[in-house]
Amino acid sequence: MNWSAIAAIYRFEMTRFFRTLAQSFISPVLSTSLYFVVFGTAIGSRIEQVEGVSYGAFIVPGLIMLSVVTLSISNASFGIYFPKFLGTIYELLSAPVNFIEIVIGYVGAAATKALFVGVVILVTATFFVEIRVEHPIAMVTFLVLTCLSFSLLGFIVGIWASNFEQMSLVPQLVVTPLVFLGGTFYSISMLPPVWQTITLFNPVVYLVSGFRWSFYGLADVPIVFSLLAILGFTGLCLGIIGWIFKTGWRIRS
């Protein structure tokens, strides 16, 4: 393993993050506060409790997931798309590195940034509602795995995209609807039976459910399914990336 290369890529990507640290920090704090004002106060005053948990506290895991998933994708896709766009990818392709090292560097940095924002949201939320974490190890595991797997997806999007419009296509048209409809702001038990069944085809449901379970012990689907879903998704993304580097798809001519 070329650890030096992994460190170089990781450091280079994190430098970009630190250059805009204020934005990286302020933006999630502001958006989380807004979510609490709109959803927590306006809707929460009508719902009050979901399965014994105050509505404001109930939506916290979903809010974290929403941000972490979208940020992981955008960070990782931008990270690899930018060198493609600028032409600086020549250096990466001519360096003594294999695809695993490149992926660890870029995806590791993207996941770190998303994780940072996830923690910022969690801390911000504690100012609005009382939060308890019943299964801290599971919580950290879900959070880290989500950051990693969606950063892998973002990496694929970044390689696939041939312009900036395509970069925002997947997050906006696929991921955001899936996250919103994945039980972020509600329990799927609140839906009519038909929709409860349809919702089970949404992979994000398993993520949000598992993550919420780690906080309050509440789950829409069994925790094992949630874990299998995230591991399966990670494996799928890794397989696609392996194929991309093997064939040079959209990277090497």
């Binding site: 460190a7 170089a8 600028l86 020549y90 250096e91």
Partner: protein
């Protein structure tokens, strides 16, 4: 001298059937400077990109320092530095960071002294804290060279290093290349500028339509350039060169109205005076006399247009 780069029957075809490289074979000696000349689209950049791992070859083999570029890609690529034709740099990054990144990417540990040495040599030390976007075009090209040198390559590819740079910077580049050669680095550069090849190369290769047409020692090419021709035009065409002029090794023009004499400008005696006297004595009347010299450019143009030089 040992061979440091060996290319054997390298081919590159694209899906649409276009053949960018049609079986290029070339050995490059350690420490030499090879200039690859060729028109746009000749295959120069494809050749470099394939060796460096940016483009995947269709067939053929390349070894760098004895390491195969596919099977031993790590060892092979570690030896190679590439300065691309296009200026490709992250605009918001600092000069020193981007150079340090290159060193790390190629598996070297942090070495601030080495980075300082490279940046100083390339007159970039004062700009080390500047963002790339604040630099001029020439400075950006220096950053590209600094990045390529940061990991101490044994073989350096310079793809059109002086395209679009001013005369002063071009001279600076030539000096840098000369210094690198002194330190034992092998340099392969592509260029449109024939004077550039003349100024710094040891050998010159001419590539066109994916084929290597010629690889020759620069000095022997220069010797060809040193040859001059004098054309003695006659008022009346003749069918054969007179016996009395046989010693001059003349060539009769196809129309028979001119005698062509090739001589070496560097020689002590060119033989022109004797020739002209002998021509007059043979009873031939001169209409005009003109001289012509084949330049490297002419050799190049003839080669790429499919004619013998």
């Amino acid at each position: 001298m040992a061979t440091i780069l060996s290319i054997k029957d390298l081919r590159k075809s694209y899906d649409d059937g276009f053949e960018a490289l049609k079986g290029v074979s070339l050995d490059i000696e350690q420490g030499e400077i090879l200039a690859l000349l060729g028109p746009n689209g000749a295959g120069k950049t494809t050749l470099i990109s394939t060796i460096c791992g940016i483009t995947t070859p269709t067939s053929g083999t390349v070894t760098v320092g004895g390491y195969d570029i596919e099977n031993d890609f790590r060892a092979a690529r570690k030896m190679i530095g590439l300065v691309p034709q296009e200026i490709a740099l992250e605009p918001f990054e600092k000069v020193s960071n981007t150079v340090r990144f290159s060193r790390g990417l190629f598996g070297h540990g942090r070495d601030d002294a080495r980075i300082e040495e490279i940046l100083t040599k390339l007159s970039l030390w004062d700009k080390r804290k500047n963002a790339i976007k604040e630099l001029s075009g020439g400075m950006k090209r220096r950053v590209l060279i600094a990045k390529a040198l940061a990991h101490e390559p044994r073989v350096l590819f310079l793809d059109e290093p002086t395209a679009g740079v001013d005369v002063e910077l071009r001279k600076d580049m030539w000096e840098i290349v000369a210094e690198l050669k002194q330190s034992g680095v092998t340099i392969i550069l592509t260029t449109h500028y024939i004077e550039e090849a003349e100024a710094i190369a040891d050998r010159i290769g001419v590539i066109d339509k994916g084929e290597l047409l010629l690889v020759q020692d620069k000095n022997s090419l220069m010797a060809q350039m040193g040859k001059k021709q004098i054309e003695v035009m006659l008022t009346e065409a003749i069918s054969a060169i007179p016996e009395s002029l046989a010693t001059h090794d003349l060539v009769l023009s196809p129309a028979g109205d001119a005698l062509i004499y090739t001589y070496d400008t560097n020689a002590e005696r060119t033989g022109i005076t004797t020739l002209l006297n002998d021509v007059a004595q043979a009873g031939l009347v001169l209409r005009d006399v003109q001289t012509r010299q084949s330049s490297l450019e002419e050799i190049f143009v003839n080669l790429v247009s499919g004619e013998a030089a």
